[in-house]
Symmetry: C2
Subunit: 361 residues, 2 copies
């Protein structure tokens, strides 16, 4: 999706991919096959690039630092670590006054029980590093239940289980010049720990709480020195206030609606930010935009089902990532735009369900 934005701006992308059939490698001319954990491969790739950026957070911090001696790396290692290490992130967010759940580093059953006595059960145990999309996150009610995880030696944090009303997300961008923009606050609808739908803007959100959420996201971007797009996933508490759940320092699923739904897509915004160009307007182009994720089903032939979906709704926008279809994997998304939220959600859902399953809803 970044290539779509790069084409418009005449910016030439090169991609370091693990294999030639990865999504990005399929749509970009300059592809180097290599491992992002291999510093030599990263160095070879960076030669001839003006700027290096990321579409995931798994490149080791020390490699990101080493690369920065040779080329502009955005976001830089000092910022990126907050999207790589949940303990570092929580420490920093607490220090700058960003609202967080109660949390603590824990390494023993005693520490965990002490935290639970103060903040309640069940609690959420998280691996400080390597958590992604629900993996590395556990909900337990006692240190006994957590024994295996504690014994693994993985650095851990524990967080209170926040009694949230819904999940929100704010995508912001910041450039090296220090310019910042925020997209509208969206609601991310989760099912079995996976985001299935994003509603932009979040419906019925008090303007004051929306402003608070955007302020928190921009402040994090600024204080952490983020360059590029930052997605801040939040919980909205009863009463309306938000606390920060996770950070992603790249274009993020909660911002895919911006491709057709905002004047500047998050992918163009990320390019502008890492190239230190002035940022684009984040204004939405329709009163309501809904993005529904496509998760792989049993039948891999999604393309065959385009016909019904496109004929049914000539305004639906399909995005199919060219990934191998595996059950449960995010393989694409659809976007619907309109004025009535129930109607727009129904259109997105119809398209997504049919593309995933072949069923008519």
């Amino acid at each position: 999706m970044t290539q779509q934005a790069a084409i418009a701006l005449g910016v030439e992308l090169r991609v370091l991919a693990g294999a030639p059939d990865e999504s990005a490698a399929r749509v970009v001319g300059g592809v180097q096959i290599g491992d992002y954990r291999d510093l030599a491969a990263l160095r070879e790739f960076a030669r001839g690039c003006d700027v290096v950026t990321f579409d995931h957070e798994h490149v080791p911090s020390e490699h990101v630092e080493a690369l920065a001696d040779e080329v502009a790396v955005r976001p830089g290692a000092a910022a990126l670590v907050h999207a790589q290490d949940k303990a570092v992130m929580r420490e920093r967010l607490s220090a700058i006054g960003a609202p967080c759940p109660a949390w603590a580093r824990v390494a023993s059953a005693g520490e965990l029980e002490a935290f639970a006595r103060e903040h309640g059960r069940p609690f959420v145990l998280k691996a400080a590093r390597g958590g992604y999309d629900g993996r590395g996150v556990w909900v337990f009610s006692s240190a006994d239940e957590a024994a295996e995880v504690l014994a693994s030696g993985t650095p851990l944090i524990v967080e209170e289980l926040v009694p949230y009303e819904r999940e929100l997300a704010v995508v912001v961008a910041r450039s090296p010049h220090g310019q910042g923009v925020s997209y509208p606050v969206v609601e991310t609808v989760q099912k079995d720990g996976i985001c299935v739908e994003v509603i932009a803007p979040a419906q019925g959100l008090d303007p004051e709480h929306a402003a608070q959420a955007q302020h928190v996201a921009l402040k994090i971007a600024n204080e952490l020195g983020v360059t590029g797009v930052l997605a801040v996933e939040m919980f909205q508490l009863p009463g309306g206030r938000v606390v920060v759940n996770e950070l992603a320092m790249r274009p993020h699923n909660s911002g895919h609606w911006t491709i057709e739904g905002a004047r500047t897509s998050q992918f163009e915004q990320h390019l502008r930010a890492v190239l230190d160009l002035p940022l684009g307007s984040p204004s939405p182009v329709a009163p309501v935009v809904v993005m529904a994720n496509l998760l792989g089903g049993e039948d891999p032939d999604v393309y065959r089902r385009y016909e019904h979906v496109m004929a049914h709704d000539p305004g639906i926008k399909i995005h199919f990532y060219g990934k191998e279809v595996r059950p449960g994997r995010k393989i694409g998304h659809v976007t619907a735009l309109g004025t009535d939220v129930d109607d727009v959600r129904a259109r997105a859902r119809h398209a997504a369900v049919h593309l995933m399953t072949g069923e008519y809803v």
Copy 2:
């Protein structure tokens, strides 16, 4: 720009390009370098493609026909010839009752003078084949002035010089199933024979004349059996009626505004049509959309001027084709969207002039 649409749909593009630095070759993974006039190269390219289509009309008709024995070619040779040969186009349009200027095939001074006596002077002489963007078109007042062109032996047609009020264009698409859609009628503003600006929709156009123009374009697509996008360039006469000027059977400059300005871009529409998928909504997403072409100037460093343009207008959309910058060459375009036509035109013009010249207007 077709690659941007192909990425979204998960459609894998391959490109036959004359050189590795051509615009399309720079942004697509599967590139074959070869000559579109070389049937062996075309055949090699077509192997493994599901559908072959074109981004210009210069592939020889007999090669297009030969390819069709091996792969789906859309548009087919029988349709494409109407965008390749102006005499064939005029004969066919006259036969189906599409409004045309008075015209005739001419090969001699006597025929030319006879036409001029009936339809007036000056008149327009056109090479039947090979005309593009003003080349191959001459305005003369007598057969004497045309002597050199007549002597060249190029097949020619003559047309009356239509006293038009403005130039309009209609982009339509038609699928092999026979489904058709029309985008709104636009005004194309020309300067020195080159389109500098497109205003969507054409302002102050009587709904009846707009409907006539769209009807003519859809009828041409249908009668000629076009598959893909068809752009019909028209003259609007005093009184409001239109006559057809030129045809292009591919995504066209007069439809570039649809990338951000319509629910379905002309490039996605072309892909849908040639893949025989249901066509997408051509609805505009803003009351007024203006596209201004970027023509190369003396200074090739257009990118350096992004900063001012983007800072001045965060909503402007820049498209830069990655072509070598040469004076007068179309090297990109900008698009502005809004509600007030004067404001939107001024924004597009400001961006285009600055990107082309570095001047502040």
